[in-house]
Amino acid sequence: MDRNRWLVLPLILALAVGLGYAVLSLPERTDGLQKMVADKMEVSGVSNPVTAVLLNFRGYDTLLEMVVLLLALLGVWSLGGAALHREAAPGPVLDTLARLLVPVLILVAAYLLWVGAHAPGGAFQAGSVLGAAGVLLLLVGWRLRPGLTAWPLRLILVAGPGAFVIMAIFTLLIERQLLEYPPAQAGALILLLETAATLSIGVTLAALFLGERPQDKGSK
């Protein structure tokens, strides 16, 4: 191991120097794609450029990223998950914290989703906050009721990618292009997609944290 380390170190240093040189050789000022984004902002339906890129200009990428998220969860479930969550009563501090924080987190997620149209925020941030709320709930031992673990849970999991796919087919049929929204309705369509994506991202992250597939005994 020690000899390996002395062999690897100079190579990594050379890599770091090479990468540093590559970064420094980039031009000091460049517009990148910002000009193109700024020119098309009026037809995007939102006023936050990052949301416009994510949901409108590069909606195809976001569609595939939602599928990646779902695939990761399917991978974890098909591995059988890992039963390392010992069932133990949470302490009073964790219990109170979860009771106080979860409603706030859900409210923050909704705010982030709404504000994403014109300020930093959006589906991925809101979904992450929702996922955090789910993790907190799982930590205090909360589980979904058994009746909800079968198709209702799966329906929410596929809501995001599903909404994207339906929207892609819809825009392909009605409009000219894949995921090219009519400018007048773009804002509402983006909010619709983002709401579905937020729910899916939040529930997927919480389900990834839990690991095992919710069986008849019931879990989120």
Binding site: M1, R5, G20, D31, G32, P49, V53, I201, T204, L208
Partner: protein, 102 residues
């Protein structure tokens, strides 16, 4: 040299650190953490270099890539951790077999 380049250099430093840890450490948990450090370095480079527009508004495209990248990295890490736990449960050791050492 503007602040953007300083952050980008730090990001490249993080990436190199991650590559080093990925090669040197045998334990899979450390390897997964190393890949996460590498990813964080890349995110830092992307965010920093997006500031080079010289206007108030940075380039939105790299920012959008980083936002989705973070969530995808989390899910990939979860999958990797599950694989590691399965391997550890199967073999009792969270390291990949090394032919040379055996």
């Amino acid at each position: 040299m503007s602040a953007a380049f300083l952050y980008a250099l730090v990001g490249m430093g993080l990436f190199s650190l991650g590559v080093y840890a990925l090669i040197v450490h045998a334990h899979l948990l450390r390897k997964i953490l190393a890949i996460n450090v590498m990813g964080s370095g890349i995110f830092l480079v992307l965010v920093a270099l997006a500031r080079r527009t010289g206007e108030a508004q940075p380039d939105a495209v790299p920012h959008a890539m980083v936002i989705t990248g973070i969530v995808v990295a989390i899910s990939a890490t979860a999958l990797a951790l599950t694989l590691m736990l399965k391997l550890a449960a199967e073999t009792g050791c969270a390291e990949l077999p090394d032919e040379k050492r055996e």
